[in-house]
């Protein structure tokens, strides 16, 4: 049972480049989330999904896009990377009203 798997673990992007952070879960959770965590700070919700085909914005959605075509996968797309997007990105999943299971994170640096 892998839980929540995020790839890649580390990435360096140049300003203006784009990339997709992958997230997949094997627990059949209907809810999935993307958070970012800046150094020494808390977690900010970027986007979330309550089921396949349904996504919604969180606190800090600007500069990001998501899709949820299957229950298992919830990729996060960064378009036109900016230094302000340097952060650690965590994907998580849960049942409705249940505790989150987090992935191990993707550390992204934009230079």
């Amino acid at each position: 049972n892998a839980g929540v798997t995020q790839t890649p673990k580390f990435r360096i992007l140049k300003i203006g480049q784009s990339m997709t952070l992958q997230c997949t879960q094997d627990m059949n959770h209907n809810y999935m989330y993307w958070y970012r965590q800046d150094p020494g700070m808390g977690l900010k919700l970027i986007y979330y999904s309550v089921g396949a085909g349904i996504t919604d914005k969180g606190e800090v959605p600007n500069g990001y896009n998501v899709s949820r075509s299957t229950t298992e996968d919830f990729p996060l797309r960064l378009e036109l990377a900016a230094p302000s997007q340097t952060s650690v990105y965590f994907c998580a999943s849960s049942w409705e009203g249940g505790g989150y299971t987090f992935g191990s994170g993707t550390r992204l640096t934009v230079v």
């Binding site: 808390g42 977690l43 969180g58 606190e59 965590f90 009203g97 989150y100 191990s104």
Partner: protein, 108 residues
């Protein structure tokens, strides 16, 4: 989107002490109050959670107390150990919003 107020921002205790971390919220509609523990370089992990139909829940050395009238819930760590040194976050269950975190250091 409702924010959650968490205090203190950081906390240092001696081994064996009982650190207490507090969270306050505004909306009474929530019915799930979890705490997460995060070690450096790792993702947060669910530590303990409470539903508002009880005032206290204990799991090992960790206890959540819930005060519905005051709209507060607290995490207590009994007999704290250096291995408990981590950042602790409260979350408003259905709001998906994390508190700002409390950095706990337990000195040997």
């Amino acid at each position: 989107q409702q924010q959650v107020k968490q205090s203190p921002q950081s906390l240092i205790v001696q081994k064996g002490g009982i650190p207490i971390i507090n969270c306050a919220y505004e909306n009474t509609a929530f019915d799930y109050f979890p705490w997460y523990q995060q070690f450096p370089g790792k993702g947060p992990a669910l530590l303990i959670a409470i539903r508002p139909d009880v005032s206290e829940k204990k799991e090992g050395r960790f206890t959540i107390s819930f005060n519905k009238s005051a709209k507060q819930f607290s995490l207590h760590i009994m007999d704290s150990q250096p291995g408990d040194s981590a950042t602790y976050f409260c979350v408003l269950g259905q709001n998906f919003v994390f508190g700002p975190g409390t950095r706990l250091s337990v000195l040997p």
